[in-house]
């Protein structure tokens, strides 16, 4: 592959990714992720937002090949991850890492910080054995921790410090892409703010890209370049942060934004006293006849996706009947 072609490809390219969980007795199989497509560029953050059960985490896991997908394609650095042999995929893991929500359960309680941070370096032979200690110290500094603390165990750290260790572990092998699954939702608000600005400064320094899974929309607005809103396993809206927050075009996105409490007493009181219509977002596009945008997908065979602005799209699925 030539240099110029590599430049043109996004770092991560996901197309029509679907994940189906097998049926439980007497139930239909669950389509947890339904034909999801997005790109993430170098040093970019795409946020995945939506309610619990909308498929955010499953999408993140399927992208990392930690969850088998039922169809679709995931390309990282131009390579199709779904078709790689095991050992090849393992090598690709150097480029993609994972930060989980709960820093209490995602660190091994009986491994010191030094052991935790050295493990990925050894597995991927990232640095020669004699340089591991130096690299571990550098990682500690990178995430704002004192390198002299590497002999300690996870329980000796606060929640925020632990999440810094988890981030350092993810960045140990200098990945291009990190999935952050609710990385701050278990933390207090001041610690949250610190971790978010750490993630941002690491992006600026290292050029790492994030798939940032979160339910806190105010946080997403601070950190993300682009936002994908998920509902019922599908992306219902995708655009730049300015577009999705400034000009939300799917009724579910609007409902989600309206529901966020505002830390302003007068505004929030007004919000809570207003009566809001309870919208039912369930229901698929009618099999026959035009969708909300007037297009008959059954006839044209086109995807249920409509461009509403430059690189800003919205799905015609999951529109409440009252808005059709």
């Amino acid at each position: 592959m030539t240099e110029s072609v590599q430049q043109a490809l996004p770092l991560l390219r996901v197309r029509d990714l679907s994940v189906t969980f097998p049926a439980r007795p007497g139930k239909a199989p669950v389509l947890a992720v339904d034909r999801v497509s997005f790109d993430i560029g170098h040093a970019q953050t795409l946020a995945l937002v939506g309610e619990s059960g909308s498929g955010k985490t499953t999408t993140g896991r399927a992208v990392l090949q930690l969850q088998a997908s039922s169809s679709g394609s995931v390309q990282l650095l131009g390579r199709e991850l779904g078709q790689l042999p095991r050992d090849e995929l393992r090598k690709m893991r150097r480029h993609m890492q994972f930060v989980l929500q709960n820093p209490y359960s995602s660190l091994h309680p009986r491994m010191t910080v030094a052991q935790t941070l050295a493990e990925p370096l050894r597995i991927h032979r990232f640095v020669p054995a004699e340089s591991v200690t130096a690299r571990v110290a550098k990682l500690m500094q990178l995430v704002g921790l004192d390198p002299t603390m590497v002999r300690r165990y996870p329980h000796e750290f606060s929640g925020g410090q632990r999440q810094r260790i988890v981030i350092a572990r993810a960045l140990a092998v200098n990945p291009d892409f990190v999935v952050c699954d609710e990385p701050v939702s278990a933390l207090d608000v001041r610690t949250q703010a610190q971790i978010v600005s750490l993630l941002k400064s690491l992006q600026d320094q290292l050029g790492v890209s994030y798939l940032f899974i979160a339910h806190d929309l105010a946080l997403v607005r601070q950190l993300a370049h682009r936002v994908a809103v998920m509902f019922g396993g599908a992306i219902v809206e995708l655009g730049s942060t300015e577009q999705v927050f400034g000009k939300p075009s799917h009724p579910y996105t609007r409902a989600l934004l309206d529901a966020v409490p505002v830390p302003d007493p007068a505004a929030q009181r007004k919000k809570l006293t207003e009566t809001v219509p309870e919208l039912q977002f369930h229901g698929l596009v009618p099999q026959t006849g035009p969708c909300v945008f007037g297009e008959n997908h059954a006839q044209t065979g086109s995807a249920c996706w409509h461009v509403v602005g430059k690189e800003h799209g919205v799905s015609c699925r999951f529109w409440p009947n009252s808005l059709r």
């Binding site: 953050t45 309610e51 619990s52 929640g159 207090d188 608000v189 001041r190 949250q192 703010a193 978010v196 600005s197 941002k200 339910h215 806190d216 929309l217 105010a218 946080l219 607005r221 601070q222 950190l223 993300a224 370049h225 942060t241 927050f245 409902a255 989600l256 934004l257 309206d258 529901a259 966020v260 409490p261 505002v262 830390p263 302003d264 007493p265 007068a266 505004a267 929030q268 009181r269 919000k271 809570l272 006293t273 809001v276 309870e278």
Partner: protein, 272 residues
Amino acid sequence: MSAPAALLQVRGLTAQFNRGDVASQVVKGISFDIGVGESVGFVGESGCGKSVTARALMRLAPEGSSVAWGGTVLFKGQDLLQVNERVMQDIRGRRIAMVFQDPMSSLNPVLTVGAQIEDIVRRHTGASASQARQRSVELLDLVGIRDAARRADDYPHQFSGGMRQRVLIAIAVSCQPDLLIADEPTTALDVTVQAQILRLLMRLRRELGMALMLITHDFGVIAGMVDRVHVMLDGSIVETGSVDALFANPQQAYTQALLAAVPRLDMAERLV
């Protein structure tokens, strides 16, 4: 605005946990009042003692711990830290009721939700089985559960998280308590569901005239729900004020730092 008559007067409340030889004081002598029908918020970070303070009012110790309470908790003239357990049992759930964060672990999984409401109604009001049944359906209807008569026969796992929290609220308000304590009532819920539960709590407070003690770490939640706020840090109340004054003009550096850390959707401050 004149202060409402005091329903609850807490003076010098302390809570000390004893684990083996180690004693740690997690509430360090705090004092506050809650008036009849008043809505008061407690905010602070995890470990600041806000939940333990709430549990003190019902004399509930966290599971597996031994706790020594100190100070006085005057509720309608009675010191709840002194009354015997029989009296306390009549107050818990009837005069003071509580809604917790996690609606699944607060419900009994093997009983229908109707049975769990009927249980507390019968315990506290001496209603007959059929009266209690009727009341449970009324309560489910009150908290916005559709088709309440049929849903009363469903088990907790058949409800979504938001609906379970509605059930818990129905149980809490079943005996028309004077004070409802809500400890992070929406933290486990999605934001759209959270908005519904907050609206429900506001409506019930208005309709039933209850006082509300709301404990949360979320400044957005506290903003619209309460009249007064207490900010807690390390077992003490560090700042108290009307919700408007506290948000507009926080006095303590700690409160200022907390408020400054809250990301806001309505302001275009961006890191990227």
